[in-house]
C-alpha cells in the first residue's frame, strides 16, 4: 500500500516536471520572457524538448530505483524513507536542468536582441473582475464552525479525559506517544486547525486582490488562463481546507473518545486526502495549462507585432522569485509550473503565509 501511494506520487511529480515547459505561458520560457512571435523559435522548441527528454530519463531512473528497492529485501521503514527522498532527488535534478535552460534562453534572448526597440506595454481590462469566478473568501469560515464545535466538545469532556492523552499515532493508527493532560495539549489540534483555516481565508482574500495580468499580444487567451487559475485554485483551496478540517477533527475525536473512530477510518481518511489532492492538482494543471500555453495549439500570427508585453525579467530572480515593490499584488502566477507564487517585495505575503506556519511549527514543537 505504502509503495503504491509513493510510486504514484513520484510518477505524478515526474509528469508535472516533464510537462511544465509546455503548460506554462508560451511567452515565458524557463522563466525568461520572450516576444510572442518567437514562441515557435527553433532554439526555444529545442530547449523545451531537451529539458523534457532529460527529465523523463531521470524520472525513469528514479522510478526504476524505487521499484528495485521494493523487490529487494528492505524494511518497510526504509522503503518509505526512500520513497520520500526520491521525489526530492527528482525535483532537484529537474531544477538543475531548469537553471541550465534558463541560462541558455537568456543567452539566445540577448544575442537575438529580442524586445529591443519594440514598444512595451502593460494592459488591463476594466471589466475583467466582473468575470472573476473566485469563491468568496468567507467560505473558508464555514469549516470554522466545525472547529468551534470540536473545541466546545473538548471543553465539555475535558474532566472525563484520562491523565495521559495520546499525542502521536503510529502508521497503524495506534497511539504511541502520550503527554500529561492540560488545556494546551488537549486543544492543540483544534487551535492549529483554526490557524490553518484563517491562513486559507487570508490566501483567498489576498489572491482576490492580486492582479489579473493580461498579455497585450494575446488578450483573450491570457484572460482565460488567469480566470481559470483564479477560479480553480480557489476551489482547490476550499477542498484542501475541508479535507484538513476532516482530518484534524478525526484526530481530535480519536483523542477524546479512544474507540469512536475505527482504525480503518483513521487509515482511509489520509488516503482520500491523497487521492483528492492528486486529482485536484491534475484538474488545475489541465484547466490552467491548456490556455495560453503550447497546448493551446493555435497558430501564431507570423507578422511582427508592433507592441509587446513589458519584459519583466528584472522582477524575477532566476525566473522563479518575484520581487516587485511597485506591484501591490500578494500572489502572481508562477513563471515555471502551475499555480501562484508570492510577491516577495510585499510584506502582506509574509504575514499571510509565514506567520501562520511559524505559529503551527511552534505549537507542534512545544507540545
Amino acid at each position: 500500500m505504502e509503495f503504491t501511494i509513493l510510486f504514484i506520487t513520484i510518477l505524478f511529480i515526474s509528469l508535472i516536471q516533464i510537462a511544465a515547459p509546455f503548460l506554462v505561458k508560451r511567452t515565458v520560457v524557463f522563466g525568461v520572457a520572450i516576444p510572442y512571435e518567437q514562441t515557435n523559435h527553433p532554439k526555444v522548441k529545442q530547449f523545451k524538448r531537451r529539458y523534457a527528454i532529460s527529465t523523463c530519463f531521470i524520472a525513469l531512473i528514479v522510478l526504476l530505483r524505487f521499484f528495485i528497492l521494493k523487490q529487494g529485501s528492505i524494511t518497510e521503514t526504509k522503503l518509505v524513507l526512500s520513497g520520500v527522498v526520491l521525489p526530492f532527488v527528482l525535483i532537484l535534478a529537474s531544477l538543475s536542468l531548469y537553471f541550465y535552460f534558463h541560462y541558455k534562453t537568456t543567452k539566445v534572448k540577448k544575442s537575438q536582441h529580442w524586445f529591443e526597440g519594440v514598444k512595451q506595454v502593460r494592459v488591463a481590462d476594466l471589466s475583467v473582475r466582473l468575470k472573476d469566478e473566485m469563491l468568496p473568501s468567507v467560505v473558508h469560515f464555514i469549516p470554522v464552525i466545525l472547529t468551534i464545535s470540536i473545541v466546545g466538545l473538548t471543553i465539555h469532556v475535558f474532566d472525563q479525559l484520562p491523565n495521559q492523552v495520546p499525542t502521536h499515532w503510529g502508521p497503524n493508527g495506534q497511539p504511541d506517544d502520550f503527554t500529561t493532560k492540560s488545556w494546551m495539549t488537549v486543544l492543540n489540534l483544534p487551535i492549529m486547525l483554526f490557524v490553518i483555516q484563517i491562513m486559507f481565508f487570508g490566501i483567498n482574500a489576498a489572491t482576490k486582490n492580486s492582479g489579473i495580468k493580461l498579455s497585450a499580444t494575446n488578450i483573450n487567451s491570457a484572460k482565460r488562463r488567469q480566470l481559470n487559475l483564479r477560479k480553480y485554485s480557489s476551489w482547490f483551496l476550499l477542498v484542501v481546507n475541508i479535507l484538513m478540517t476532516m482530518l484534524f477533527s478525526f484526530m481530535q475525536l480519536n483523542l477524546l473518545y479512544e474507540n469512536l473512530v475505527s482504525n480503518s477510518m483513521l487509515w482511509i481518511t489520509p488516503l482520500i486526502f491523497f487521492i483528492l489532492i492528486l486529482g485536484g492538482s491534475l484538474i488545475l494543471a489541465i484547466k490552467v495549462g491548456s490556455a495560453d500555453s503550447d497546448l493551446e495549439g493555435k497558430v501564431i500570427i507570423e507578422e511582427t507585432n508592433q507592441i509587446e508585453d513589458v519584459d519583466e525579467d528584472q522582477n524575477w530572480k532566476g525566473g522563479l522569485i518575484y520581487f516587485n515593490p511597485n506591484d501591490p499584488s500578494v500572489f502572481v502566477e508562477k513563471r515555471f509550473g502551475i499555480g501562484f507564487t508570492l510577491n516577495f517585495a510585499n510584506p502582506r505575503g509574509y504575514f499571510i503565509i509565514f506567520l501562520p506556519i511559524v505559529i503551527i511549527l511552534l505549537m507542534s514543537f512545544t507540545m
Binding site: 502593460r122 494592459v123 473582475r129 492582479g211 495580468k213 497585450a216 513589458v310 511597485n326 506591484d327 501591490p328
Partner: protein, 127 residues
Amino acid sequence: MLTVEPTSSIPIYIQLRNQVMEAIARGELSTGDTLPSVRALAADLGVNMHTVNKSYHELVSKEIIEIVPKKGAVIIANNKENISEERLESLSNELKPLVTEALVHGINEIKLHDLVSKIMKNIKEVE
C-alpha cells in the same frame, strides 16, 4: 482595455487618466459605471498604487469620476448632457495654450478644425 507604456516619456498616471477618458468617449464606459479599486487596477497593471491614485484624483478634479464611499470610483461625466459653464471655461483655459501653439506654428482655422476632427475620429476608432 487600458494600455500603458511604462518607458514612455509621458508619466503613467497621465497615460492612465487619458485612457480612462478615451474609454468613456468611445462609450466603453458610461455614466454610473464603476472603475476598479485603486488596489485592483494597480495590481492588474503591476504599477504603484500611488500612480493609479494620482490618475483617479485627476479624474475627480475634472469632474469625470466621483469617489463614493463603499462603491468606489463612479463615473459621473455624462456626454448626453450639456457641459456646465465652469467645465467649459476650464476646458477653454486648458485648450488656449495649445491653440496658441498651433497658431504660432502657422496652422490656420480650417487646418485646426481638420486636426480636431482627425483626433476625434482617432479616439473613436481605436479598438
